[in-house]
Symmetry: C3
Subunit: 251 residues, 3 copies
């Protein structure tokens, strides 16, 4: 049976999150009403929290769902979209990290840098820079938070505080389509739902997404046709695609 990935996410890219979850072989469910959120977590194999269009009600739902996920021992993935852009997003990201046991924190350089307390710059929901060596920022933040940190970028970086993996694949077209960061968080949730090691899950998600993006870009005529191609490529991904050639490098 497909692993079930419960999402509390933004309304901009939620459909892409659902379809990417299906494409990789898992099943998505979205629920955030306080009346049902903990009960829905009871059926799920992973929980993805994404603050892309945050509301105060959603924060409470995330805490309720996160505690239920922690109690059941299923992994929680946090995508702190736009942390650093506004105080509401930054403090919510920190509050979720403080109140919940997060398995994987996935963000871009600006978001991760903000949470690390570095002088990161975030503009809207796009990263605009990070002070310091990225791999070092990830490793130290992972160590401090006690979770896996996955930083997406031209070279993705994943660390659990000890190990550091670089994933060097993907293509510029990724940035021309809305929601690619959110989709990676959903994929991470799908992999974490079935993997014992959240570090491996994050690496696999980033590698799978990057390889699929490269394949889709070869056929695309622009961002419009790139997107369906990305879903096709993800759904057609063979396990060997995540081996040599996927651009994974352990530091």
């Amino acid at each position: 049976m497909r692993p079930l990935v419960h999402h509390i996410t933004n309304y901009v890219t939620v459909n892409d999150c659902a379809n990417v979850t299906l494409a990789i072989g898992a099943a998505p469910v979205m629920a955030e009403a306080p009346e049902e959120v903990a009960e829905m977590v009871g059926l799920a194999d992973a929980l993805v929290l994404n603050i892309g269009t945050l509301s105060s009600g959603q924060v409470e739902a995330m805490l309720l769902a996160g505690r239920a996920a922690n109690a059941r021992g299923i992994p929680v993935v946090l995508d702190p979209v736009g942390a650093g852009a506004t105080h509401f997003r930054t403090t919510t990201a920190l509050r979720l990290l403080d109140g919940l046991e997060i398995a994987v924190l996935k963000g871009n350089a600006g978001e991760i840098g903000t949470i690390a307390g570095n002088e990161a710059r975030v503009r809207g929901v796009d990263s605009a820079g990070l002070a310091g060596d990225p791999a070092d920022v990830c490793r130290r933040l992972a160590s401090r938070l006690g979770c896996v940190v996955a930083m997406s970028g031209p070279v993705d970086i994943v660390s659990d505080g000890n190990r550091v993996a670089l994933v060097e694949n993907g293509c510029p077209m990724m940035g021309a389509v809305s929601g690619t960061g959110c989709m990676v968080a959903s994929l991470t949730g799908a992999f974490a739902a079935v993997a014992d090691d959240p570090f491996a899950a994050a690496v696999a998600a980033l590698a799978a997404f990057g390889v699929s993006g490269e394949r889709a870009a070869q056929e695309a005529h622009g961002p419009g046709s790139f997107r369906p191609g990305l879903f096709d490529a993800l759904a057609g991904l063979e396990p060997a695609a995540l081996g040599a050639g996927a651009g994974i490098r352990l530091e």
Copy 2:
């Protein structure tokens, strides 16, 4: 003039619902603010209620809109997404069925089985089984509720309590794309807006969707390219496609 189908629906697949409504030749409108929901129903030819990302405010909007639709005599289609997965969804589905005159109840086996009081299993928003003969469950539930029951699945079943129709078409790709169930509810609303017989409307919607899916699957390279193809096929559907070859069988 295109029939207007008012939706109160989930934010995951709402764009697909809008586009599928347009593709079949109707016009969608989405509105759920208590300030306007009854007034908007006053312009509509059918109302579709979908509980896929339910909130308490939305339940009240559905009741307001549903009563206005009943008062005007326009058909109401209910898609009880995830009934059986959480108490909130199950009780809301029952509350809507109790408080409103529903023309067509459209769900998967788990959702319909839950409402029928059978030992159905629902996981997230996907059906995971139904005890008892499906056609019999539909016929008896339709008879008890006094509405048409449409159960989607490998073979779709539609009953008004007397008649039973089976629709045997479609393709596995349907399950690889988010929102196909929601799209069928929107199509049912579009057909019900212009048909005198909601039983015929539900059968036509399921047949049209299945035939379109089969056509789209022939050209698709995966779920990503399947989806635009599905909209193309729906928009290009000729009336004869719903005749022989559409897989409709009256029991």
Copy 3:
């Protein structure tokens, strides 16, 4: 650096708005929580307000964001989706026009006619007619409101109260896809973010969208394949495409 276009918009077409903003070379951000909306405007280069799935909370967020945008002197684009269909939409559109300095009011004939006080008819979110000469309605409304009025239709009309431009391009397929009106508002925001003259921004947005639609229609097999083609065409648009051949005519 890409101009940042802050949106407060509907949940039906929000993903299209995000992708169209990226396709034209700007960056989208969506935020509407009262906790952050003014702060997010502080990072933005334009603000787009779209009332397609209005709620009372969203109206307050629009006023907060709009005031912050006015204080910073960045342009505000208003898309009064469905004004004329319900009192809530009509009065909200008028309230936003009254309380904020709007740079561009973009709507269809029914919405613009409603705001102009003409006997316009709106059904759902689609225009169903306008009494009076459209160019004259636009020119007089622009003059009265002190903003640019852009009326989309088979021939688009833009006026700032003095100048009137007609944009005659596009294709019937536009109406077969959900969200084309919303996408034009997002494009207008993207152009207004970098143009000194909002009149020129609105004309450019309508021309770019129409030309892209014509190109996409040539390759499309229906509305499903038209949509990705539209994004591809927008992303590939060369500046010269907005010169002769774009169907722009100054009255």
